[in-house]
């Protein structure tokens, strides 16, 4: 029988040896990033623009424009476009974020040759038929109205709007009337200025070869429309936020909490340290928020924290759903944890454990044929160097308790966060 009291030896992951893809400029002028090839018979092609809602002039404009590229061209109806993909087993999806937008095409590798003409037609000749715009509005408004019934939607929205302003590009939120007000011209203008096919960066991953790259190159050569604008990301400073906001939802029996703050963009050497600090706060199951609020006290099902990119920096956010009777206690515990990260910072076993977790997760996240484009797009948004992923783990392992305490003191003061509560708050709006 094995000695179950004795843990098997465990090897820390302190270095990552991975093969990074390469970047090439094609004859068509587009830059293409090719991930290491994998022999699966399928591939993904991402068409990526380094612009998103941050450059839209109206709420919901960026997302609508990207989706409605597939609403019809001068040569094809929406149904013909969709059939052009689906008949070959392919699919496409559109994603609009704050600082980037993308179309992801997934296909059996051998069928890319049939998909590309349809894709090029969409990028070159989208005409935004009015009936498709009207349909989009109906579907989007209905979906948005459902989301607006949930406490989680409101706590995040109110918190972020306090930081960045109502319905601003930074928050990516919109109201039904914003969607209803979108016009054909709005979509056309956004596309002309920000979604030109020959201004996109291409990412290919999965099973491809040199012939695939030639196919893509020759297809994109057919694009003639030039992007008009190279818009700079807005640099206006965020609002002076309201400290605390509450929204009562009469049918709720839970409270959703969102605490957030913004801060200026940090360097590529500091970001891993902040990410490590975030792990301790609420970034994994072993975090202080998770262990205390959920596993020790049973106050909440979901609780966590993350750091995301804003236009000029970062947003640090804590979210959770809790029993409405425990809202005060939960907030008090969160404040204690925030303070505790500077007064009683991670050290010894707690520090070591998080670094071990970080290393394992980072390396594991690089598995799979389609993982690289997202990592590269993160570097494009942040301006971090190309070898960031080769050095980030080293930075994490070298981070000491004192550094974490100082970062926690500088960034995690409870009063520097805006708090929004939504749900069964019992307080009328």
């Amino acid at each position: 029988m094995p000695d179950r009291l004795l843990a098997p030896p465990s090897i820390p992951i302190k270095e990552i040896d991975f093969t990074q893809g390469n970047e090439t400029k094609l004859n068509c002028g587009n830059v293409i990033y090719c991930s290491p090839k994998r022999d699966f018979g399928v591939l993904k092609l991402d068409i990526y623009w380094p612009e998103g809602t941050a450059v839209q002039s109206k709420p919901a404009q960026a997302r609508a424009a990207l989706q409605l590229l597939f609403g019809g061209t001068q040569n094809r109806t929406a149904e013909q476009i969709l059939d052009g993909f689906e008949s070959h087993g392919a699919s496409f999806s559109c994603n609009t974020g704050l600082l980037g937008s993308s179309i992801s095409v997934k296909t059996i590798s051998a069928n890319l040759v049939y998909i590309l003409p349809v894709l090029i037609d969409v990028l070159e000749n989208a005409c935004f038929p009015q009936n498709e715009i009207n349909l989009f509005k109906t579907v989007e408004v209905s979906s948005l109205q459902r989301k607006m019934q949930t406490p989680g939607y409101w706590s995040q929205r109110l918190c972020l709007e306090s930081l960045y302003g109502e319905s601003t590009p930074e928050t990516m939120f919109s109201n039904p009337e914003h969607i209803e007000d979108l016009t054909h011209q709005n979509l056309f203008d956004y596309t002309k200025n920000h979604l030109a096919g020959n201004n996109a960066m291409l990412f290919v991953s999965g099973d491809y070869n040199d012939h695939t790259i030639s196919l893509i190159d020759n297809s994109f050569l057919a694009l003639t429309t030039k992007q008009l604008n190279q818009t700079n990301t807005p640099t206006t400073k965020p609002n002076k936020p309201t400290q605390s906001i509450t929204k009562h939802l009469p049918h709720s029996n839970q409270i959703s909490l969102c605490m957030a703050k913004n801060f200026d963009r940090v360097s590529h050497t500091m970001f891993p340290q902040l990410s490590l600090l975030n792990l301790f706060l609420g970034g994994f199951f072993g975090s202080r928020l998770m262990q205390d609020l959920r596993e020790e006290k049973g106050l909440t099902y979901g609780i966590g924290s993350n750091i995301s990119l804003s236009c000029t920096g970062h947003t640090w956010m804590i979210t959770g759903e809790m029993n409405n009777q425990n809202a005060e206690l939960t907030q008090s515990c969160i404040r204690e944890i925030l303070n505790g990260l500077s007064s009683n910072p991670p050290m010894g076993e707690e520090l070591e454990k998080a670094k071990l977790y970080y290393g394992g997760q980072l390396r594991g996240s690089m598995d799979g044929p389609f993982s690289e484009p997202g990592r590269i797009q993160f570097l494009l948004k942040t301006g971090y160097p190309h070898d960031y992923y080769k050095t980030v783990l080293n930075t994490v392992w070298e981070t000491k308790t004192d550094t974490l305490a100082e970062l926690a003191y500088n960034y995690l003061q409870p009063d520097s966060f805006t708090i929004a509560l939504a749900g069964a708050t019992g307080i009328s709006n």
């Binding site: 094995p2 992951i13 689906e86 392919a90 209905s142 949930t150 909440t300 099902y301």
Partner: protein
């Protein structure tokens, strides 16, 4: 092709091995043959509550999650009406840690009242979040209550009521563990950068000494005939629009007719080019969403067809339009051979993309093994390609007015 090998330990634990040299991790996926259908009607939600308790520490390893994290790993689980599935992913260098952890919690859990009380609180909050604070949160409560009157499929995994979870006792959970959490009731898949030889060695080392505490789950359930008349339920919901859901019971996973219905659902509502979207959302303007899907389960198959209505459209009108499209589709009115070919191509592509994910492969291997159909895992695509329009229409003909269960949802604020 998913390459695999399999063996069984002396205590009945079935092990499947899948080697992936390109992966940097090893995954241990453990499927326990127990789900919500194995609960008592006055103690529902137990299988799911128990899933939470499994992370509370085992006899020799009090802090399960801490050990996983120190090994650079992560883990999670899910519960359905028919099974509970746990998975742990670790760097391949630390594979033995995963074996130690998973085998120890199969051996014995560290039961404590405190752990139980905490997890009851957590699960109750999950219940509220999923069921009371989201549109259509209680959909599966309503669907199952309509489809089943006596069978243990009549409650959802999260549990029928909060009180069932709140009243769970230490004795209840211990009994549940000893009855269902043992080698003869489990299938383990070891996948990733680990050899078959090493897998056998570590399985023998860590699992062989675990004695089965019971025979495996015999999966004996009260068989309940499908409805033979229309069943109906009407209620209010957080959704700000009226909605209609129509559900039928259908063939189980192992029945090839379930593949027919899966493809039929794809043709009918799996694409914006399908008749549900085209006729009801795009052309009639009565719906903001209209979709369908078929869930193929071990002991049940469910065909779900639904529509979310635009303002001013009544549920009755909505149902009428859903039937119009469905009845035409059942007669093949909307489809041709090209459409079927498209659906098959999509299925082929989906299967190929599935194989790019190690966790998908590990879970699928366990699922098929649990069904006793592991030999079929690499012939799924052939199953789809074999479907003909005639068999598809024949299977769709079972979706009738006299065996449907219908739910009408009205917005909470306007329901009279």
């Amino acid at each position: 092709m998913i390459q695999y090998s399999q063996f069984t330990l002396g205590n009945g634990l079935r092990v499947i091995h899948h080697y992936d040299p390109d992966s940097s991790v090893v995954i241990l996926n453990t499927l326990f043959n127990v789900g919500a259908r194995d609960e008592s009607p006055d103690k529902t939600g137990f299988a799911h509550l128990f899933e939470h308790l499994m992370f509370g520490g085992s006899a020799n390893i009090p802090e399960y999650d801490k050990v996983v994290e120190k090994a650079g790993g992560s883990n999670n689980a899910y519960t359905t009406n028919e099974l509970t599935n746990y998975y742990i992913t670790v760097p391949h260098e630390n594979a033995e840690t995963a074996f130690w952890l998973e085998s120890d919690r199969m051996l014995s859990l560290d039961f404590s009242q405190k752990s139980l009380d905490v997890q009851k609180g957590v699960v109750c909050e999950e219940f509220k979040q999923r069921c009371f604070n989201a549109p259509f949160g209680q959909l599966w409560h309503h669907i199952r209550a309509l489809l089943y009157k006596e069978s243990s499929y009549r409650w959802p995994t999260i549990g029928l009521e909060l009180e069932h979870i709140e009243q769970a006792s230490l004795y209840d959970v211990k009994s549940f563990f000893y009855r269902y959490y043992h080698p003869q009731n489990a299938i383990l898949c070891v996948a990733g950068k680990i050899s078959e030889e090493k897998t056998v060695e570590l399985c023998e080392k860590w699992y062989a000494d675990i004695e089965p505490t019971d025979v495996g789950n015999q999966n004996i359930y009260l068989h309940e005939n499908p409805p033979n008349q229309r069943r109906f339920f009407e209620t209010t919901d957080l959704s700000p629009n009226n909605a209609v859901f129509m559900v039928w019971r259908g063939p189980v996973f192992s029945d090839e007719k379930s593949v027919d219905l899966e493809l039929f659902s794809e043709l009918l509502g799996g694409s914006e080019n399908g008749p549900l979207y085209q006729k009801l959302v795009k052309q009639s303007g009565c719906f903001s969403a209209a979709e369908c899907f078929y869930t193929r389960g071990i002991g049940e198959g469910l065909f779900v067809l639904y529509g979310i209505l635009n303002e001013g459209v009544t549920n009755e009108e909505g149902e009428k339009q859903l039937w119009f499209v469905l009845n035409n589709a059942k007669e093949g009115g909307f489809f041709n051979e090209n459409d079927l070919k498209t659906a098959k191509n999509k299925a082929t592509a989906a299967l190929l993309f599935e194989k790019t994910s190690l966790i998908n492969k590990a879970q699928k291997l366990c699922y098929f093994a649990n069904l006793g159909l592991l030999r079929n895992i690499n012939s799924e695509n052939e199953q789809y390609q074999r479907v003909e329009m005639s068999s598809l229409i024949e299977s769709a003909a079972t979706l009738k007015t006299d065996n449907v269960s219908v739910i009408y949802y009205h917005p909470k604020t306007t329901h009279a």
